[in-house]
């Protein structure tokens, strides 16, 4: 399996994401935001956490309009896999690949701590390695993780089993405790928590490792 990790000015989880992909057995190429093409034969694009373009205008807004994002959109529209974590999730909502938006945390504070998540669905290459309803511990680190969408969109996400992860107790005000969602074809996942920061025993927890392992397993046999 081959992964591309996009690097924007201000990305700061790009190398952590590459380490997690490699630990699961992927080949990884780092791709600069000004590039106008993805490397050939890429199975999955990772959009890392951080503060792309200093969060200017809105989190993810400038990155979503960068040259490489046109290619990431085309990759997703061809049925390619895309994983956006934290700022990556914000970028995916700004590109329109995922519905809704991420607003300032309801409590206005930047929150950096490990939180309990509940696996909402096992029907995706990202979550197949978990049990439905399983509780896992994954760190969050964000100021703008308050997921919001219209009632119709939230109902549709629930009906179509596209809520990948929920907070056990929402720390940021997210509607329906949403921590991560899937696209309609279930191949694009955006999530605020950082599975790549819980992927090695030295991180203090390994509950995120199953996401990368199940992804690598599914794409190796695809």
């Amino acid at each position: 399996m081959r992964a591309a990790v996009i690097v924007f000015p201000g990305s700061n989880c790009d190398r952590d994401l590459a380490v997690a992909f490699r630990a699961a057995g992927c080949e990884v190429e780092m791709v600069w935001h000004k590039d106008t093409a993805l490397p050939k034969g890429i199975d999955i694009v990772g959009i890392p956490g951080g503060f792309s373009f200093g969060d200017y205008l809105r989190c993810g807004a400038i990155a979503a309009n960068s040259p490489i994002c046109t290619e990431v959109k085309a990759h997703a529209e061809r049925g390619g896999f895309v994983l956006g974590i934290c700022n990556g999730f914000q970028i995916l909502t700004e590109t329109g690949l995922l519905p809704g938006a991420l607003l300032r945390n309801a409590g206005l504070k930047y929150i950096c701590r490990t939180v309990p998540l509940v696996v909402g669905t096992t029907d995706s290459v990202y979550t197949a390695g978990y049990a439905a309803g399983q509780q896992i511990a994954v760190p969050i680190a964000h100021h703008d993780g308050n997921y919001t969408a219209s009632e119709d969109v939230v109902a549709r996400l629930a009906d179509e089993d596209r809520i990948a992860f929920r907070y056990d107790d929402t720390p940021n005000g997210s509607v329906a405790d949403i921590a991560g969602i899937l696209s309609e074809n279930r191949r694009v996942l955006g999530m605020m928590p950082h599975p790549e920061r819980a992927a090695d025993a030295r991180h203090g927890g390994t509950d995120g490792a199953a996401l990368f392992a199940s992804l690598a397993n599914a794409l190796a046999t695809a």
């Binding site: 205008l57 809105r58 807004a61 309009n65 909502t93 700004e94 519905p99 809704g100 938006a101 607003l103 300032r104 945390n105 309801a106 409590g107 206005l108 308050n146 919001t148 969408a149 005000g173």
Partner: protein
């Protein structure tokens, strides 16, 4: 021509920053503030021939996230 774009969270979208400002005003003794909404003002210096429609396109594509924000344009 210049354009001034006002971007606000849509009604019904919780604005925790506006709410914090309202609390702070109350703490300073300013009674009677029932609601505060905080937004952004973006000023654009435009070359001749740039139209209000162009600015509207800029708003739709980048300046506002129309999922949660509304915008208005003033030209002068």
């Amino acid at each position: 021509m210049k354009a001034r774009v006002h971007v606000m969270l849509k009604d019904g979208v919780l604005d925790p920053q506006g709410e914090a400002v309202r609390h702070a005003l109350g703490g300073l003794g300013f009674g009677g503030v029932e609601k505060v909404r905080q937004g952004k003002v973006i000023e654009l210096d435009l070359a001749d021939g740039t139209t209000e429609d162009n600015v509207r396109e800029m708003c739709e594509k980048l300046l506002a996230n129309t999922v949660v924000e509304s915008y208005s344009i003033e030209t002068f």
